[in-house]
Symmetry: C3
């Protein structure tokens, strides 16, 4: 997971080659699936590909800031907010969570083997110019405001997603 | 989610451009994933794309008619039939279903925010000429008959799916 | 699911046509999703497509040999090994497992209807030259050694996956 070589990237683009494109839609809010999405995204960025990640439904939780933001919410939005995990640090495994023991074990093993955590993968992807798009309709349903998501995130719709997907060599629904 | 402009569509095709194609395989029978599949499909249809949706395994439940049909079934098929949700109206969320409370909350919020329900999304997609294909092998395993599925549905196999997938700009497994 | 006609395949390649390519990443360790992945893979192989299957996270369990192999493992790897299903024979359905009853019912119905079991689908895919790649990073996290996986499996990384995905007509994340 090296940081992409900027000189290489510029050269590549200057030579007029269109960089290959990858689109990922992260629908899941599970730790393991979010890890998979960002490992693939970072791999593609390291290969000088252009990467768009679109976050819908539970996937929005990955982008949430860790602490409550001063935004006005109605009652149901407040309940959703309170029930859903607040950001990369609070996600759980899709299997074998076992009241948190499996998730803690997995994080411990990753740390011991020097594998990037989800937060580190997100930061690396941002440094390497990933495009992060939050689905506006999902935000509306779940009562999430733009201020509650990481600063680098754009808000978009299905057409944003499809626009990038149709230009991509591969599109993954995770 | 506007209804696709038919004049535009005709013009586009008349000019000899092949419309771009999208293929979705809906494997999941969860309400949230079915919503995602149909929101994306309707978005693509509104952009004049050709859309094929292939329904396998639990995804078949989305296509079931709401009331029991007069078909002959053996014992196991009858049990599967009875245990699986009967159509778009009876699906549950993949997370936070909480014995139905989460699902009801989500439906309530969507209604209040004037977001199309799954039934409305399915009807709109059908009006806009989505291709709906049910996986014959899955129907066989689950003991579902064609009469039990929505009228517009074709029955097909893996080669139907792959035929459309290889022509598509993007193929999503949901 | 016929065994691909080898003469046809040779002819096709000899004529200089590049066979179309399909890439599947199997992330899930659920029986139903593994079945879907291998049914699609076998369909594509029967249509003379080139197929790469990449196994990450829980998907690695599909490739595990049924009996414990004499490899050295640390304590946590041993625990993961013990908690995760050992191979195609021990997977469960993602829904309606019902303490194993649903899974047993599904297997029974498939046998009675002469539908290939997961083991048979894996063998057929191998005979038809599927490329099976296990994700090295996931193996490391879960403490799985190459000796514990089916003999035909290669070990690879994200770049192996992306290399094949960018050449493929369709890439599915299952």
């Amino acid at each position: 997971m090296n940081i992409v070589n900027q000189t290489e990237l510029t050269k590549n683009t200057a030579e007029g080659q269109n960089p290959e494109q990858l689109t990922i839609i992260l629908f899941s809010g599970d730790l393991d699936k979010a890890l998979a999405a960002f490992v693939i995204a970072n791999g593609a960025l390291a290969m000088d590909m252009k990467v768009t990640m679109f976050f819908a439904f539970w996937g929005l939780n990955v982008l949430r800031k860790e602490f409550a933001q001063p935004v006005h919410k109605d009652f149901l939005s407040r309940m959703f907010s309170w029930m859903m995990p607040r950001g990369a640090n609070h996600l759980k495994l899709s299997s074998m969570n076992m009241f948190g023991i499996g998730t803690a074990m997995m994080k411990y093993v990753m740390r011991r083997k020097n594998i990037y955590s989800l937060q580190q993968l997100i930061e690396t992807a941002i440094q390497n110019n990933v495009r992060l798009v939050a689905c506006g309709m999902s935000m509306d349903v779940m009562g999430l405001k733009k201020e509650e998501l990481l600063d680098r995130v754009e808000v978009g719709g299905v057409s944003t997603f499809l626009g990038d997907a149709t230009l991509s060599k591969a599109t993954l629904f995770i």
